[in-house]
Amino acid sequence: MSTLTTTNSNDNYLNHTKGILSWLCTVDHKRIGIMYLVCVLFAFFLGGVFAMLLRFQLLTPEGMFLTQDQYNQAFTMHGAIMVFLVIIPAVPAALGNFVLPIMLGAKDVAFPKLNLFSWYLWIAGLVFFLLALATGGLDTGWTFYTPYSIDKASSMGGVIPALIGAFILGFSSIFTGMNFIVTIHRLRPKGMTWFRMPLFLWATYATAIIQVLATPVVGITLLLLIVERSMGIGIFDPAMGGDPVLYQHFFWFYSHPAVYIMILPAMGIISELISVHSHRHIFGYKFIAYSSIAIAMFGFIVWGHHMFTSGQSQLMNIIFSLVTFSVSIPSAVKVFNWLATLYKGSISLNTPMIYGLSFIFIFAIGGLTGLHLATLATDIHLHDSYFVVAHFHYVMMGSALIGFLGGIHHWWPKMTGKMYHEGWGRVAAILVFIGFNVTFFSQFMMGSKGMPRRYATYAEMPEFQVYHIWSTAGSVILAIGFVICAIYLLQSCFAGKKAPANPWGGRSLEWQCSSPPPWDNFAEQPEVGDCYDYSVLEWNEEEQGYVWKKDVLHPGEANG
């Protein structure tokens, strides 16, 4: 018995039905995952174009080619697109949708139609954001801080469409989270106790809890903002008796946990990558699993650290500072456990693993610089400076997005049935790593020296130009890396080598069905054992992939 696949091997989810409608009306989690992937990558391209505009504008202290208002729009759209349309849905909705049910040996998520509805909500959200651009633009920053966003004389006309867009995207996120929680609770296969779940599932589960509990708060907040701006009911505007700082509390009550919506699933991917590509049982499974839950829980009670200079009471600042440090512990635990997993492994330095190791390097910097910002005395100086910009790009882009890229490369053979060009893959991964660090490390330095964020020009502080030039140069390297990546991935779809069922030697269930998976994943839900025990696999030259050892029984086949 070499594989669990029981359906005809030529039939798969890509060719099972044909035509554009068979995609747009599909309830198959794999197709929805691919649709999300395509859309999220499109939005990433859009957000990236805005990012490049920002970087080139800042090459000189007087600015290169954007007016102040154009720059303000560009950084707002960059932030809003990257947060709401890219990083939040990237891993759970795109990769999670594809992988999660297969990892469970299930045929689909618990609510397939709701899953498709989430995707349409995402599309509606995108449409509203584009509408915001068309109806006067958006210049509030992705945070929509009050009273700026309420005052029609200050902010541009696209605020309400953008708020509606973010509100709708919130529902998309909630539905995906709900779907995953129910799926993990109800559809686990025989033998998969909670502590035998692949760690990616623990991470998506923890993420889903945040999505379901925190997103409604921002939904209501954005709704209040819409009401206030359109009808003049005073909630956040002091001119109408409201409280602008209250808005910040409401906003960060969601948006801080949202940071963990972005990073937790990426951490889940890294746990898989590190273990599979070093053929080494994950070290300290339970600590990693619990640390995901701990991060999700602690994430709810630290929002006030975004407001250390907002005038909230000193006691509150002290409490929020203390609690914020608690998040650093489970994050550190994960890093140490990943390192221990590498110990005595058989480490393959292939493309997914380069992204995995890049993640550890970059997340170490992103996490450690969080200490400067959690500490009250230093945060007062660093708040709203480029130091903060560098810190959250190290976490949200360098970590979350590189985790996402690692995941794309790890599961690409499974999703498309094709192998990408490994050599170009490595080149792109290394360019992304170098480009990223050059772009953002220089931002730490200018931030701590006094460069405030969201500046279109810095004519009074020409000493920062050298850092901006470094940063822009880095962003060009980064962009080249992404372009190469896009080219060889697209090329592989048409001319890539056929992928084996299990090219890396993974043990979780998705590697036990063919690549690409059949329409219904598994004819019968398989039984599972320890998903990090690689001793049952061996290399098969003919398949150019790993197969189950002939003399070892599958779980559930004992004495069969």
């Binding site: 190791l357 708040h383 701590s448 006094g450």
Partner: protein
């Protein structure tokens, strides 16, 4: 042990700019920098630990390209080790928290005998008023060296945030309430003050200069500042206005003809007296000037543009200017008008200010 670490990380008071941080120019900067350096060294240590371990494992356990054999080695967990690397960082962050909290209280608790300045943030300028002298400064804040100063701040419109990097102090400036911060400058000099909370179009031009002057000159300077324009003749007013009042306008109105958030001041008086300015309403200024018209004298148009800027908005601009009603004395409005009339004498062709407040040529 602690004292050894302290002496390694502490910098002498007034330390110049280094790799990470700008010059220390206030009394609290030293302790903020100590905390910063402490955390940074902890970061260096853990970063080195993580990256070196990773590199060593990457090299030592690297898989050969054609090696496909799976050999199971290494432990799957080690509870003692894992508890250690959970508890040790926990103890360390508690230390960081306590050091940071003490530094913060130090930053926040103003001494009892502070010199007080009231600060108003308004798109996109800073106004500083000295209640003790009745003096108002715009775009410049004059404070005495070696004396604690408390800024009591509020905003006229949206959120702003006052940051003086060399002093390591920052506080949001919020409409409808007061916030405060304090500092004590170590040395005479000029320090940049900026807005670090996004506030719209010209956020990145919302600067002011903190001028730290000797204590013995302070009273004299401020007394003069409070009343200098009162005794000035008409001919002295342009030099005063361009140096003392124009700071409030400069983020939007250029002196060199370049287009900003508002029209440039260069050639403004010519345009106004000719009357060929078009408004968004479609009217031309000339139809509002002359005997028995809306404005009568062109000076009235300037006056209204300052006190009620929304009345007539020049075509091509959004009309983002706030009203300055109640913020300027009559003589200061006159000073503005004189400034416009004589702009060519007090600025260069490139739009640089060419006179000092007392009318002497600027070097």
């Amino acid at each position: 042990m602690f004292s050894i670490i302290s002496s390694l990380l502490a910098t002498p008071q007034g330390n110049p700019e280094n790799f990470w941080l700008p010059k220390q120019a206030s009394t609290v900067a030293q302790s903020v920098d100590f905390t910063f350096n402490l955390i940074t060294w902890i970061c260096y240590f853990f970063f080195a630990l993580i990256v070196i371990a990773m590199l060593v494992f990457m090299i030592k356990y690297r898989r050969k390209s054609n090696d496909h054999e799976i050999v199971v080695t290494g432990p799957t967990h080690n509870t003692a080790l894992e508890v250690t690397w959970t508890v040790l960082p926990l103890l360390l962050v508690i230390v960081i928290f306590i050091v940071g909290m003490r530094g913060y209280l130090n930053l926040r608790e103003a001494p009892a005998d502070c010199y007080e300045v009231q600060v108003t943030g308004q798109k996109w300028s800073w106004t500083f008023s000295h209640p003790k002298f009745g003096a108002i400064e715009v775009g410049e804040l004059t404070v005495p060296v070696g004396k604690p100063v408390r800024l009591l701040m509020t905003s006229n419109d949206v959120l702003h945030s006052l940051w003086i990097p060399d002093f390591r102090v920052k506080m949001d400036v919020i409409p409808g309430r007061y916030t405060s911060l304090w500092f004590e400058a170590l040395e005479v000099g000029e320090y940049l003050l900026n807005c670090s909370e996004y506030c719209g179009t010209d956020h990145s031009k919302m600067f002011a200069m903190v001028r730290v002057i000797p204590q013995e000159d302070f009273d004299k300077t401020l007394t003069k500042l409070a009343s200098e324009y009162e005794d000035m003749s008409l001919g002295e007013l342009p030099a005063y206005a361009i140096n003392r009042l124009y700071n409030r306008c400069k983020s939007c109105h250029s002196l060199d003809g370049s287009i900003g958030t508002g029209p440039s001041f260069k050639g403004l008086w010519d345009r106004v007296s000719r009357g060929d300015t078009l408004f968004t309403s479609g009217e031309e200024l000339s139809s509002l000037l002359g005997d028995a018209t809306f404005y009568g004298e062109p000076e009235n148009y300037i006056r209204e543009s300052i006190l009620n800027p929304q009345a007539h908005i020049v075509q091509g601009y959004l009309g983002s200017m706030p009203s300055f009603q109640g913020q300027l004395k009559e003589k200061q409005i006159t000073a503005f008008i004189e400034m416009f009339k004589n702009l060519n004498e007090i600025t260069t062709a490139e739009g640089e200010i060419s006179v000092n407040p007392d009318g002497t040529p600027r070097q």
